[in-house]
């Protein structure tokens, strides 16, 4: 798995283990409360300055000319007319000095350059301009004359692997050897099975479509570059830009205070980042390059689609005996990760000794894949959770019971190491109880044209442990207010709020008195990118350690004044007092050493994860749907997400994640898919929010419930939190498909569930029954 953008794999000597012994929290005062976001007012009032809001004096606007063909070779590019448009200050093409920058979206994928003369997907960058106004920049793009030799294109992984298919790269379209995994003896497993189910599934390519488009503002001061970039990780941007432009890390300052969503598509830089920097250098002016909505559909990432075949065997009593999985997908023109992690649910979620998986990927003429909210997992879940339901139907067993029959306390895919905690059983059981599963299942079937059904899906998430490195600094001021410094981005998930609550917990300071400096490589500490559901479990222990360091220093100073041992001192609401003799107390401002120093600075590091144990979140989601058998329309009536992500750090941000993940999963299940004109041009047909259908407020049930399964995990890290942001969208679509099956007796294996297809299936089903 490509982890560079999530974790650092190198040893990290500069982040030693936390100095303090940190006992797990027993009871918490602030952590876990439903506190509003610390930046809620700024976000809602429009006062928050997102990177796309940044406006600098003398700033120019950059724009990128994009290839209109799915596959083409540039024969010639004429820019004279564009250069003469009033206001145009710079034009960049692949013959401009300094643009021969290697571009390799994935380290093990095919290499390219910034402006590649062969465009392998629609939307590939061809040239760029900077002009005084955005309109002049667009006019200049229109004035460029490009002579393309249009090449045949290939749009699906199946077609890409056909003999004689158009070649995306000179070496062909195959990504290489399929990735395989095997444990146990699969054939023996099937022989031992009483029932076997085998199904083929199809999942669409999906788009991240964050609210804020991708882009940045670049400004040079001498040989130092500052970038305001809409990113999930300022330090990723720093590393990648410095490498591409051959600059010292210290000369690249990246600021990303707010981000209007990323969902994985902003873990790495885009060509726009380098183009902005080059244009700014060439014009000696700040340059803003923000993509149009349409560009964000074409060329900044997608979630791979493909086909999957899953065969499963079970004993009469429901015990799984074998799983055999095969997938074919594509990461687009440049990423080899077409089916990356498609198989993880199959490998790790349910107890099964005999498992075989195989993933093949092919290059196609489409934009490159980027991690999208739980890479690979929702796809695999679509297959696994439906096959489990099909097995349950064959066994005449409640699908919930079948899942409960196949639980495991160890991570089988990691060589049977135990999980630090797993609340999967509780997610299933307590979720079912809160949802009213048994009653809903027992309901007699309606005989009218509008029928209802319920479905369940479970999941785990490969990451979500978090881990080093991370450094946080807490500064305690003379008046008892606090400044927290950390590098992590808050990608809209409430990171700042959660971290302020951790500081408040340890230092007894109200959240309103905490100021946060974050996501700035110039002024804040190193953090990995916010992604992989790892931000809370990575950063919160470092922040806690920093707060504790600060607290210990304060207590030690107070101990001298009070002439008692620091061990018996407590800090609360700006006062230090003895736990033995509460009369012995001192306002923080009166501690003599502190009065001399004016501030106390605490530094915290993220310690390592437990060895030989896996830290993973789990979940079960339940839903009820209504199917109109006349029109094939499916309405989701209600949803419940029961999640074990360890400690609930902030109840409001927690519930937000659950609802948001379900909404995204409803899109996957019912409405979203990227459509390419496969038969002819290979161009994208639905490149905007009108034609690419994400669910609207009216498509989402008002009745959504978040049920935290708060299993105490004393081993995972010092705050007990596991990741949440991705599991919330893994089993959603599969649960919908299972509910549709429950309602109609028809299994829809192709996502999204399309009314036309559903009607065909219903008709075939009725015929079979007649």
């Amino acid at each position: 798995m490509r982890e560079a953008n999530y974790y650092s794999r190198d040893p990290v000597p500069e982040t030693p283990e936390p100095k303090q012994k940190q006992d797990p929290w027993a009871e918490t005062k602030v952590v876990g409360q439903p506190l509003p976001r610390v930046d809620a007012y700024q976000r809602l009032s429009g006062a928050a300055v997102y990177p796309s809001d940044v406006h600098l004096p003398e700033m120019l606007y950059g724009a990128i000319l994009r290839c209109p063909h799915a596959h083409a070779r540039i024969k010639s590019l004429e820019t004279t007319a564009a250069e003469q448009i009033p206001g145009v200050r710079a034009v960049l093409t692949n013959s401009s000095p300094g643009t021969d920058i290697p571009w390799q979206p994935e380290s093990d994928g095919p290499a390219s350059v910034l402006f590649d003369p062969v465009c392998r997907f629609e939307g590939e960058a061809v040239a760029a301009v900077a002009a005084t106004t955005p309109y002049q920049a667009q006019d200049a793009l229109r004035a460029m004359q490009v002579d393309y030799e249009v090449l045949p294109a290939v749009s699906t992984p199946q077609d890409a692997l056909e003999p004689g298919a158009p070649k995306v790269h000179p070496d062909g379209n195959s990504v290489g050897e399929p990735s395989t995994y095997e444990r146990g003896d699969v054939s023996a497993g099937f022989e031992a099975a009483d029932v076997v189910v085998e199904e083929t599934f199809q999942v669409p390519f999906l788009l991240h479509t964050p609210m804020e488009p991708h882009g940045c503002v670049a400004r040079w001061e001498g040989d130092k570059l500052t970038l305001w970039e809409s990113t999930q990780g300022v330090y990723n941007v720093q590393r990648q830009v410095a490498a591409a432009l051959d600059l010292p890390l210290s000369h690249v300052r990246v600021i990303g205070h707010y981000v209007g969503g990323g969902f994985g598509s902003k873990l790495a830089i885009g060509k726009y980042s380098l183009i902005a920097a080059l244009l700014a250098k060439k014009t000696a002016r700040p340059v803003k390059v923000f993509l149009s909505r349409e560009e964000t559909f074409l060329c900044v990432g997608n979630r791979p689609g493909g086909t999957m075949r899953l065969k499963a065997g079970a004993k009469r009593d429901g015990t799984l005996t074998a799983l055999d999985f095969e997938a074919l997908g594509s990461g687009g023109a440049y990423s080899p990760y077409g089916t990356g992690l498609f198989d993880w649910q199959i490998r790790d979620l349910y107890h099964c000794r005999n498992v075989r998986t195989k993933g093949r990927s092919a290059y196609i003429n489409a934009g490159e894949e980027r991690p999208m909210r739980a890479p690979g997992h929702p796809q695999g879940s679509w297959a696994l959770e439906q096959v489990l339901d099909a097995l349950a139907a064959k066994l005449e067993m409640d699908p919930l019971k079948l899942r409960l029959e196949n639980l495991t306390a160890v991570s089988q895919a990691r060589g049977d190491i135990p999980y630090t905690s797993t609340g999967f059983k509780e997610c299933l059981e307590e979720g079912a109880k809160a949802f009213g599963w048994a009653a809903a299942r027992a309901r007699p079937a309606a005989d009218g044209p509008v029928v209802r059904g319920v479905g369940v899906g479970g999941c785990t998430w490969v990451a979500g442990a978090g881990g080093p490195p991370s450094t946080a600094i807490v500064k305690y001021f003379a008046d008892g207010s606090v400044n927290l410094n950390m590098g992590a981005s808050d990608i809209g998930t409430g990171t700042k709020t959660v971290m302020a609550m951790v500081v408040a917990e340890e230092l007894g300071v109200p959240v309103e008195r905490i100021q946060i400096e974050h996501a700035d490589t110039g002024t804040t500490e190193f953090a990995t990118a916010s992604g992989g559901s790892k931000t809370v479990p990575t950063e919160s222990p470092a922040v806690r350690a920093a707060a504790l360091d600060c607290r210990e220093q304060l207590l030690a100073m107070a101990a001298q004044d009070l002439n008692i041992s620091a061990a018996e001192l407590e800090l609360e609401a700006g006062e230090v007092f003895s736990t033995r003799d509460p009369a012995k107390r001192l306002a923080v401002g009166e501690i003599s050493q502190f009065r001399q120093r004016r501030t106390v600075v605490g530094v915290g590091y993220r310690g390592p994860n437990p060895e030989d144990k896996a830290v993973c979140p789990f979940a079960a989601q339940f839903c009820e749907v209504e199917v109109n058998k006349r029109t094939g329309e499916v309405r989701v009536l209600r949803f419940l997400g029961a999640h074990d992500s360890g400690r609930v750090m902030s109840r409001l941000t927690y519930d937000n994640q659950v609802y948001g993940g379900i909404v995204m999963g409803i899109g996957f299940g019912l409405t979203e898919r990227r459509v390419l004109d496969e038969k002819q041009t290979g161009k994208m047909v639905n490149r905007n929010w009108h034609d690419y259908k994400i669910p609207t407020a009216l498509d989402v049930p008002a009745d959504m419930e978040s049920l935290p399964i708060e299993i105490q995990d004393l081993e995972c890290n010092t705050t007990g939190a596991k990741g949440l942001g991705e599991p919330v969208t893994i089993p959603t679509a599969a649960a919908i498909a299972n509910a549709v099956y429950d309602a109609t007796g028809v299994r829809v294996t192709e996502a999204p569930i399309n009314p036309t297809r559903l009607l065909d299936l219903l008709a075939a089903h009725d015929q079979r029954r007649a």
């Binding site: 006349r630 029109t631 094939g632 329309e633 019912l670 409405t671 459509v675 047909v685 639905n686 929010w689 009108h690 034609d691 259908k693 669910p695 609207t696 407020a697 009216l698 498509d699 009314p755 036309t756 009607l759």
Partner: protein, 283 residues
């Protein structure tokens, strides 16, 4: 580019007489989302939104007049519309989403003349009259004769849609509206259906059916209407209505739907509406 925002209909007419090529604009929800090339060449625009004559809902004689620039949110919320023309109120509440309804106008929907315009089948079954205002004065055409072809209307040069007149519907008649789209809001219809119908003395006495997204223009399905009027109001006729409706249309395959699905969904929706009619249960 020239841009005018006249304050009165007279002033608008003067401008248009001087410059008949001015592009009219109302809510801009069609104009501004089309191909940029179509806008770049415009000689100028005339903004109709300041004309109070064109922004009103009021009774005149026995007809409710709705000004062409009246946004759908106002139509949706109007007690008069809700009471006498529930199908139109319903259609207005299903166009785009709230943001679109706050801008999009009835006149814009008509002038845009898309086969999928959601208000259009309703205008057909309500037998709306369209009042066109031109340099020579006003003229009134039945809405049926207004929408001539794919994106083609009976608007003459220098003419604007002033308002529509909706004759008071027959007492007790039922109205139905149903839109089938890819999601609950912000979706162009796969099929859209309107029905105004009545039953008296156990027989279908009135049956006006129209559908959109099933041909190059929204259609009144007269074959179905003829077959229904006079029939005994029994559940069996619902199947016939649906069947005939499916035969009367000529849908196409496109990104939003297959022709087959459109035909099938139309059949089911018409069947359902007719069933509700004979059972006298409003949707």
């Amino acid at each position: 580019m020239k841009a005018f925002a006249p304050r009165s209909l007279d002033e608008a007419m003067v401008r248009l007489t001087e410059d008949p090529d001015l592009r009219l604009l109302a809510g801009c929800t069609d104009l501004m989302v089309g191909e940029p090339e179509d806008r770049l060449g415009l000689p100028g625009v005339l903004d109709l939104r300041g004309l109070s004559e064109l922004r009103r809902i009021e009774w005149h004689d026995d007809a409710l007049e709705i000004g062409a620039v009246t946004p759908f949110s106002q139509i949706r919320d109007s007690p008069e519309v809700q009471k006498s023309f529930p199908a139109l109120a319903e259609a207005a509440s299903k166009i785009g989403g709230w943001q679109i309804q706050n801008r999009a106008s009835l006149g814009g929907n008509m002038a845009n003349a898309s086969p999928a315009g959601d208000s259009l089948p309703v205008l057909l079954v309500l037998e709306a009259q369209v009042v066109l205002v031109g340099p020579e004065g006003t003229r009134t055409v039945p809405y049926r004769e207004f929408h001539l072809g794919y994106r083609q209307t009976a608007l003459g040069p220098g003419e604007i849609i002033g308002w529509v007149r909706l004759p008071k519907p027959p007492e007790n008649a039922m109205q139905f509206f149903r839109k089938v789209g890819a999601r609950e809001a912000q979706a162009i219809s796969k099929v859209v259906v309107a029905l105004l119908a009545d039953v008296s003395d156990g027989r279908v006495s009135e049956y006006r059916l129209a559908a959109g997204s099933v041909a190059e223009v929204p259609l009144r399905l007269t074959e179905v209407e003829k077959a229904m009027v006079g029939r005994a109001a029994k559940a069996e006729i619902a199947n016939l209505a649906g069947h005939l409706a499916a035969q009367a249309v000529r849908p196409i395959d496109d990104v939003r739907s297959t022709a087959e699905y459109r035909r099938f969904a139309l059949e089911q929706v018409v069947r359902r509406m007719t069933l509700q009619l004979v059972r006298r249960v409003p949707e």
